[in-house]
């Protein structure tokens, strides 16, 4: 845990330095008051300081293992299977974000729901397809017809010709 925290704190410190550097290229003070660089500059300084503080806190804190009871605790990070599940969800969403303007909401969401339900949800094929159909075509209909929320349509000519 502490190793992960120290790495995160270091990232915050690097971010702080980056922000300070970025803020110096902006105007710090104008004739009438603070400029665009004023606020970010101090935020960068705070990030750097707090990141450092977290590392110092971790370095100087006593080893808790002696104090904390020896109860088995859940590991911080998931095993391989868990990491794969997380990766599948994140990558699937990024894929939808990328492809949705080409294939449209209905196709993208149909594929998203059916693939996730089948792989992670372990649902039967009929349930998978039914939920995917309602979740994509049904939701699209409700949002566009009743809530007037325009959802992306396909830009690919083939799908566009099909009214998707």
């Amino acid at each position: 845990m502490k190793r992960a925290e120290n790495i995160t704190a270091s990232i915050f410190m690097v971010l702080g330095i980056f922000v300070i550097k970025g803020a110096t290229s902006l105007i710090y003070m104008t004739d009438i008051g603070p400029g665009p660089g004023f606020f970010p500059m101090w935020l960068g300084v705070l990030l750097l300081f707090l990141g450092m503080l977290l590392i110092i806190q971790n370095v100087f804190s006593k080893k808790k293992a002696e104090i904390v009871s020896a109860e088995p605790t859940e590991p911080l990070w998931p095993g391989k299977a868990g990491a794969i599940r997380v990766a599948i969800v994140v990558l699937s969403l990024l894929a939808v974000a990328f492809f949705i303007s080409y294939v449209g909401f209905r196709v993208a969401i149909f594929l998203l729901i059916s693939s996730l339900l089948y792989t992670l949800g372990k649902q039967k094929i009929l349930t998978t397809l039914s939920v995917a159909f309602v979740g994509s075509f049904g939701v699209y209909f409700v949002f566009t017809h009743f809530l007037y929320v325009e959802l992306p349509k396909a830009s690919l000519s083939l799908l566009s010709a099909l009214g998707l």
Partner: protein, 506 residues
């Protein structure tokens, strides 16, 4: 005519068939939209403004206002049952509400939220009816330095009271502020941290980030273990028990006051009201460690505060013509589109309109309460859906919510990446609440800080020469220093005890 007579005439007008129909429609739509994650009242109102152009101005604004306050009722449901806040004001409700739902007490959480919302909303509207003129005079006296100090106070409360390390909480708070600086500088029009990307000129949409952080982040934590089907099966009785009501009475009273006071200040947000109320409740609790684990006070206070806020928010709009929030700005836009100009002359020039709308807000609270408690059971039916199916549908709504904020697929990327970071931060116990609060109010903090320093020609004396500013900033400093003092005291005590036991052992 006195206020009561005007309100009575307004009430009669509300019961005209068309006005009443659109009041019910507004409440139902608001409730439904609030349930849908990511589709906030501002977007919903904006979408419906064109529809209202064929209606009378009174019916239009009755419906738009109904959506506005109805959304808050609905937003609570997804916050509590799914940990997916529909509105930024409901973010804080998710902290304890969701924990209650996980323990099978989602029903009382929603019940107390509805009761608190009703009380807060009703008192807020009565305050609008009886004190609009007085409030307009008072609100005019509050300057930029006071706004700045008030927001810093709210941030201090939330940061310090977040569970876990205060340093981590502060880091998250600063991160939120930093993300808020991305985009075009509002004063000089210079791009900041945009890396030449036009998409970033308007900043990163905080609703997309919040949906990712809270909605997707939670799903990733759940999915990592394995897909479980029985996470939300038990919600218990919908009505709170006597103990719940006793525990919630004071938070509801305090939430009403906090929401109302903040509601009359243009620039404050309902998120500040709910976060501040939450902070106050944690601070006043005999056992603050219960918060974050399903304390009903953590639902009652914030939910009351945000509904009281929402209704009081009409005061600056109706009396000064100043929209306090994005949703109110949309309602103002709806009024203008219908030929009604909000501002000091509204009560004089359009008394029928304004008193009918105010009366509709009172009746709307009753409608929402009546709809809400029985309807909670209908929403609870959603819990029957297996989580292995539900999580995919929530994922879909997070995508729709992020997209519909500004009709831009870019926000889908923002939501997904935020969700992944939300997951990582959650794993390492970096609290999300300070991040979200500063993310929402960060631009306001910067704006008022800069405005204060512009007024004082760069002199920081403005922060200690104005009494209210000084009191609020001292309150913020005390809020941060007090837990550190307590922590040091406890550490010294532990050290003394351990050295005593070592000496005894030797």
């Amino acid at each position: 005519m006195d206020t009561l007579t005007l309100l009575f005439h307004g009430t009669q007008a509300v019961f005209q068939p068309l006005n009443f129909l659109f009041l019910i429609l507004g409440c139902v739509l608001g409730q439904a939209i609030g349930v849908l994650p990511g589709i906030g009242s501002a977007a919903a109102i904006a979408l419906l403004i064109p529809v209202t152009l064929n209606l009378s101005p009174t019916a239009s604004v009755i419906m738009l206002a109904g959506i506005f306050y109805g959304t808050n009722y609905g937003g609570t449901i997804t916050s509590v049952l799914m940990n997916t806040p529909g509105e930024s004001a409901s973010v804080v409700t998710a902290i304890d509400g969701y924990q209650m739902a996980k323990k099978g007490r989602g029903g009382p959480a929603l019940g107390i939220a509805a009761i608190g919302s009703f009380i807060g909303g009703t008192v807020g509207t009565l305050g609008l009816a009886f004190g609009a003129q007085w409030f307009s005079d008072t609100a005019l006296k509050i300057g930029a330095s006071e706004y700045f100090a008030l927001m810093i106070f709210a941030v201090a409360l939330v940061t310090v009271l977040a569970t876990g390390s205060p340093v981590k909480a502060l880091l998250m708070g600063v991160l939120g502020l930093l993300i808020g600086t991305i985009g075009i500088d509002p004063d000089l029009g210079i791009p900041r941290f945009t890396f030449g990307q036009i998409k970033l000129y308007d900043g990163i949409n905080f609703i997309a980030i919040v949906i990712g952080f809270f909605g997707l982040g939670e799903i990733l934590v759940n999915i990592e273990r394995k897909v479980q089907d029985t996470i939300y099966t038990q919600v218990g009785s919908v009505l709170p028990n006597k103990q719940d009501l006793r525990d919630s009475a004071a938070p509801i009273a305090r939430g009403t006051l906090i929401g109302f006071v903040l509601g009359i200040i243009p620039g404050a947000t309902s998120a500040i009201a709910s976060f501040l109320s939450y902070g106050v409740e944690v601070n006043r609790a005999k056992d603050p460690s219960r918060f974050g684990k399903g304390a009903i006070e953590g639902v009652a206070g914030p939910e009351t505060a945000n509904n009281s806020f929402v209704n009081a928010n009409f005061i600056p709009l109706f009396t000064l013509g100043i929209p306090g929030t994005a949703s109110i700005a949309m309602i103002m836009s709806g009024m203008m589109s219908n030929g009604i100009v909000p501002g000091p002359f509204l009560f004089r020039d359009n008394p029928d309109f304004v008193w009918t709308v105010i009366a509709s807000m009172l009746i709307g609270q009753v409608i929402l309460l009546v709809f809400n408690l029985p309807m909670v059971r209908i929403w609870v039916l959603l819990l029957k859906i297996p989580y292995s199916i539900l999580f995919v549908l929530i994922l879909e709504f997070t995508l729709i919510g992020a997209y519909a904020v500004s009709y831009d697929t870019f926000n889908m990327y923002v939501m997904t990446i935020s969700g992944f970071f939300g997951y990582l931060f959650k794993k390492m116990d970096f609290p999300a609440t300070p991040f979200v609060l500063t993310l929402v109010i960060g631009p306001l903090i910067e704006k008022n800080l800069r405005k204060s320093l512009e007024i004082s020609s760069g002199e920081f004396a403005i922060f200690y020469q104005r009494p209210m500013t000084l009191i609020l900033l001292l309150g913020a400093a005390f809020t941060i220093i007090w837990p550190v003092f307590k922590w040091l005291k406890m550490r010294l005590k532990n050290q003394k005890e351990s050295s005593r036991s070592m000496n005894g052992g030797a």
